[in-house]
Symmetry: C2
């Protein structure tokens, strides 16, 4: 099939867009100046992330299909974290002209499959040449008449709860950095986060006061929530699920590891979250995050310093 440079911009766009079936929310898909996507609520939720080779993924650690899955997942999770239903993704793809076209196709298969998991479509995008592979993913979603679940709604007395895996992606990344090839479950967790997309609707239906996706690490992300809400959050580490597979640093991975794209939310005490959620702490007056009463020393992840 050859390289994407041999195919050229328009040849590559043709090959990639054929792999992107369009769901009913897409009123006009790839091929025009812009896409047109349903926004029945009259508002649209929108978020964008840049993923850069060598910094957010390594082509020797993750195949193209998993890179596509993960790039889609982290943006779809941001839409769900607002209590919205994901509708569409726009994808900017930069790569060296020598990149194998089949590699690019597998990446788009991953993007499309992750969208399918969340009920969304890849509705448009851009392809350009660049020294490194870079992905720019924008996700859109619909609030279905509900108020957005922001980070600023937590109130003293609320319960703090989480949904989905924590620490697995971080433990998997640590294994890859050590040159280890297992446990497979953890390597897979790093490569393919699989956020529980149903968490947004569950949180909204249960009356959540605040919600976010855990991308920088539990302590750091709860810190963002505490700052935005003007509250203090107390976590009881004994309530956290720390599987033995996470190894001796398991609790550290669970507290500071990002990129599993689980969800953390706050719920009034008289409307607790459903059983699929784990209550891990409480909201109080004050500021910051305490774990077992102490200020944790481990930072999360800063994309310039990390």
């Amino acid at each position: 099939m050859g390289s994407i440079g041999e195919l050229g911009e328009f040849g590559l766009i043709g090959r990639l867009t054929r792999r992107l079936p369009q769901g009913p929310d897409v009123r006009l898909g790839p091929g025009d100046d812009a896409a047109v996507i349903a926004a029945p609520d009259g508002r649209v939720v929108a978020t964008t992330d840049l993923l850069v080779e060598g910094r957010h993924f390594r082509r020797d650690w993750s195949g193209p299909y998993d890179i596509g899955r993960k790039a889609a997942a982290q943006n779809l999770a941001d839409v769900v974290a607002m209590g919205a239903r994901p509708t569409a993704l726009l994808v900017g793809f930069a790569a060296p002209p020598s990149t194998d076209a089949a590699w690019a196709e597998r990446l788009y298969d991953g993007l499309a499959d992750e969208c399918r998991r969340a009920g969304a479509s890849v509705a448009g995008g851009d392809v350009v040449g660049a020294p490194e592979v870079t992905l720019a993913v924008t996700a859109l979603g619909d609030l279905g008449g509900g108020a957005p679940l922001t980070r600023s709604g937590a109130r003293p007395g609320d319960l703090v709860a989480v949904r989905g895996r924590l620490g697995h992606a971080s433990a998997g990344l640590a294994l890859l950095a050590e040159g280890r090839d297992g446990p497979a479950e953890l390597l897979a967790a790093h490569r393919r986060p699989e956020p529980p997309y149903e968490a947004g609707a569950e949180a909204r239906d249960a009356g959540a006061t605040a919600l976010l996706d855990v991308s920088d690490g539990l302590v750091q992300d709860l810190g963002h929530l505490a700052d935005a809400s003007g509250v203090r959050i107390d976590v009881d580490s004994a309530t956290l699920v720390v599987p033995e597979a996470l190894g001796p640093d398991g609790l550290r991975h669970v507290l500071t590891g990002g990129e599993d794209h689980g969800f953390a939310g706050t719920f009034p005490p008289d409307s607790p979250p459903p059983p699929s959620w784990t209550v891990i702490g409480t909201v109080g007056r004050g500021a910051g995050v305490r774990v077992d009463g102490r200020v944790p020393d481990a930072a999360g992840w800063d994309h310039f310093r990390g």
Copy 2:
């Protein structure tokens, strides 16, 4: 003020978002998992572009303010080319940690000012570290109840018309490549395209059958329109405005130069465009683009081959 690496991700985000006033369409701006933007039509127009240093811009040829203006302009123009009103931009910004924070601030000033020209806001985004400066810009817009102006609506008998500058950005780029420092008007046209955003509403009000923004070059973009509509387009070069300042290659710049982000549209003969547009040809049965009856040999611009 120091480098963006010294500021860190959250410090930089704080500095940049303070420079981004939010218009009335932004229901929730930067700082949460996602932004929330008005979409009163019930559909949202969305488009995304990646701009990579050394390929789409050079830091020695354009300052940060102009890079921001241009990055915003090319995406806002895509929204306008659908006949929509731009509402918001999301911006992914990747840069080496050594980048001067003041440089990044000027870039965001350019993004914000170009949004202001178009009546939109920078509502969210992402900042990451990377070897090259890369911008990922997504623009959103509202159709206001109208049908989108696609590339596929041109019909035999329609008039072909253009609005805005053609060839100026290309002539300016050629001057920079030759190491020349004028004419200033052409260098400015390369650095800061200034699309006539009112063109979308003008075209819609006049009953345009198709519309696109001229980003790859007039001949190539009319070729996209002809392909999508299943028609042939005949251009009469004598009708094209070729200012003397464009130099001896003026007509070539006008026919093949992209990145001025003017607009080209087709109009039924009984509802011609307003006087701000220039009629340059006609739509007929067949395929492809002819200039003065001949198939032009000059290609436009291909981002992998160009």
